[in-house]
Symmetry: C2
Subunit: 435 residues, 2 copies
């Protein structure tokens, strides 16, 4: 039994932003105590004692959509029209990526996510076995799926590999890995392929993640090809019969939103990526009005260009106010919820994930709130959402194990990964800064 005490730490006592100074006890990777005041037990009874002075304990953030290895493509051909960006830059560069490259890129992404307070992330990409192995080694939590496209020549082999991946890695890393099926999108998966994927998803009883209605042109293309919206196309392909997480979900009409809500489809909202690519603003307020589960995601670093949930949390709270000219659209409390417990719900994780509740896995971060941006001191929840930045994250733990401390990565070799990243990118075609 491993016991850790976090003393003299601030924590929120409710979702209205009330807070107390108190202590937490973590035992065998789970919270067993979170209370105001001082712990009565002598410190020598603990294996580790952390002094939280000046710090706020928060649940680790849960990133509900991304492509971790695309951090290799960060800043590669920014500020271009979407189609040029994809066909002339991203796809040719991606074609050069080996399984090892993807493992390296995923570790670069995990470092950035850890130091910005994220403890659990979602991934949809290629060579997922190697990605999963890096997650196991890093100590992070992740929801992983091999991207499946019927437009690829070996799509059936890829599906078999995706099934094998689920069988091999579901629950790996002492339960830190959750596997999914991941058809890429309505425009890259035929109805027949969708049906095959869903057959496997049902058999394996895993969640399904998919991109949906990210651009106007996607909607137009699906309409031309199938005569319906991408959402209805998914329903007709039998995809909505399983636990489903859709990413982006920007171009939805009211009927689409009703269909998604009716099937309890969950949503990964990616405000930063949607702005950067010029895609638009998702109708999140309409989804929330229908009590849909909406989490936040960064998307890949090639289209954001950061994997920082503090940024997405602030952006979701600001963007919808401005876009709708509606200053009460999303409150600070709702934004923090979306980045934590709401993200866990969006990913269909068990109750307790994304919280500091007794019995919840001890996935948490310590945020230094002693700086000027956290003053006046009585409005802490507002400051965490609107005024913080990730540079104030001091320590990050997953299942009670420390993975990041004051600039040091305790499970990832920053020097080696940084070196290898810069070796890998040399082979990208037309590699130059486009800013």
């Amino acid at each position: 039994m491993v016991r850790m005490l976090i003393r003299d730490v601030l924590y929120f006592t409710n979702n209205e932003g009330s807070f107390e100074l108190g202590y937490a006890i973590v035992q065998d990777g789970k919270f067993v105590t979170l209370k105001p005041g001082t712990c009565d037990s002598p410190v020598y009874e603990f294996d580790d004692v952390i002094w939280g002075k000046g710090m706020l304990i928060l649940p680790g953030f849960i990133n509900t959509h991304g492509h971790a290895a695309m951090s290799l493509l960060r800043g590669y051909a920014d500020d271009l029209p979407l189609q040029t960006w994809l066909s002339d830059y991203i796809w040719p560069a991606e074609e050069t990526l080996t399984a090892n490259d993807i493992a390296v890129g995923s570790q670069l992404a995990m470092m950035e996510m850890l130091e910005t307070g994220t403890t659990c992330f979602t991934d949809m990409y290629f060579h997922m076995e190697e990605v999963a192995q890096t997650v196991v080694n890093s100590g992070m939590r992740a929801v992983l799926g091999s991207a499946l496209l019927s437009t690829l020549p070996d799509s059936d082999e890829k599906l078999q590999a995706a099934v094998a991946f689920v069988k091999d890695f579901q629950g790996a890393g002492q339960g830190r890995i959750v596997t999914t099926m991941a058809p890429h999108s309505p425009y890259t998966c035929s109805p027949e392929y969708m049906k095959k994927i869903m057959g496997q998803a049902h058999k394996l009883n895993v969640m399904v993640q998919i991109h949906l209605s990210e651009t106007r042109s996607e909607n137009k293309e699906i309409k031309q090809q199938y005569g319906v919206s991408p959402t209805i196309f998914l329903r007709n392909s039998g995809l909505l019969s399983q636990r489903v997480l859709v990413a982006h979900a920007i171009y939805l009409d009211d009927q689409d939103i009703d269909i998604l809500a009716h099937h309890d489809v969950h949503v990964a909202h990616n405000p930063g990526s949607n702005l950067k690519l010029g895609s638009g603003v998702a109708p999140v307020i309409s989804m929330m009005a229908r009590k849909m589960h909406v989490g936040l995601g960064t998307d890949g670093a090639s289209s954001n260009n950061k994997l920082d949930m503090y940024e997405e949390m602030r952006l979701v709270a600001l963007l919808h106010k401005g876009a709708l000219e509606y200053p009460t659209a999303i409150s600070a409390s709702e934004a923090l919820y979306m980045a934590t417990e709401g993200g866990a719900n969006a990913l269909f994780l068990p109750k307790g994930f994304g919280t500091l509740e007794i019995g919840a896995p001890a996935d948490f971060q310590l945020l230094d709130v002693s700086g000027p941006r956290y003053q006046p001191a009585d409005r802490l929840l507002s400051h965490v959402v609107y005024a913080s930045h990730a540079g104030d994250v001091r320590r990050v733990f997953v299942a009670g194990k420390e993975l990041y401390r004051n600039g040091e990565f305790l499970t990832i070799d920053k020097q080696r990964i940084t070196f290898e990243v810069n070796q890998i990118v040399r082979k990208f075609p037309q590699n130059k800064c486009r800013s």
Copy 2:
């Protein structure tokens, strides 16, 4: 003669994002050298030698619009409709503020600005003599004006005081302070009062700063009262005959933009504040198409809620892409320009401000670019705009003097100001966290 060497530091060699490793020499507060390679002179010839390893030297950011002391109101009554927020919370709280309170609040703001890389800020508020004195003491650079409203009972005395302020403080702090006239807005200044203010502005030959078309309701109100748009109202009041900086400028039609461009009116764009208050998105792309000078501003911390130009720089680059569904709207290079040299131009500062050019004032920041978010390493400009956060700012200098270093404020007493801020806010009416 004081000479400082900054060695082994990265710097951009052009605005396309090319960069070199080299060194800078600062002499008597100005840049005299910025070159690739290693300095030939022996280090004992310098009064100070800074090793820039892993760091990028950037011009200090220039914040073109704000109300520094409103950091006292940070998080005070967030997420409310604008009119409730103003009448029930902000104005009653502001009425309690003394000159000393405003000095304390301004110092809280300056700490946040310094640690996020800002070296020069713009302010429009009350008790400007006290604000100016704190700026002189802090070592920062600022463009200051006393807010003038004809709706206040003592508006003529206030105008006389504003004139006295200009006479007393123009060029104070070894030239670090620039004074302005600051009529608050079209809806709080009568045409007669505007004319009086402009008479003084011409006589004193100072810049004029004013809020313009921040909300739809302002436009409606001015239209009802004067039959024209706020922009035309300003022109008719003779305001556009002087060097003018307008803040916000959201609800402009093409004719308004043409008028502003014709009179070489400069703009302070506040993307974060405009979103937070649900005001909307300013037509910055149309302004840039007319070659107007547009800088970035944070506005006050009560409506942002941070004073972090890294945030505004990223937001301006993202927001207009998303709002216009136009992924090439504002490039990384343009965003960095707006936060630095473009901001200096918006404020009518002399050539060289906001740059690292030879002869320019040595107002600069050192950004630690050794972290994962700055990888792959060859796309540094993109990373600075899209992937950075202010937590990577290590050292900040104004006129060659260091004001911030690794969490320490060298000219402001953080402990005392933090204590006093929390004393002051106790008297605010209805004080509670509204998140």
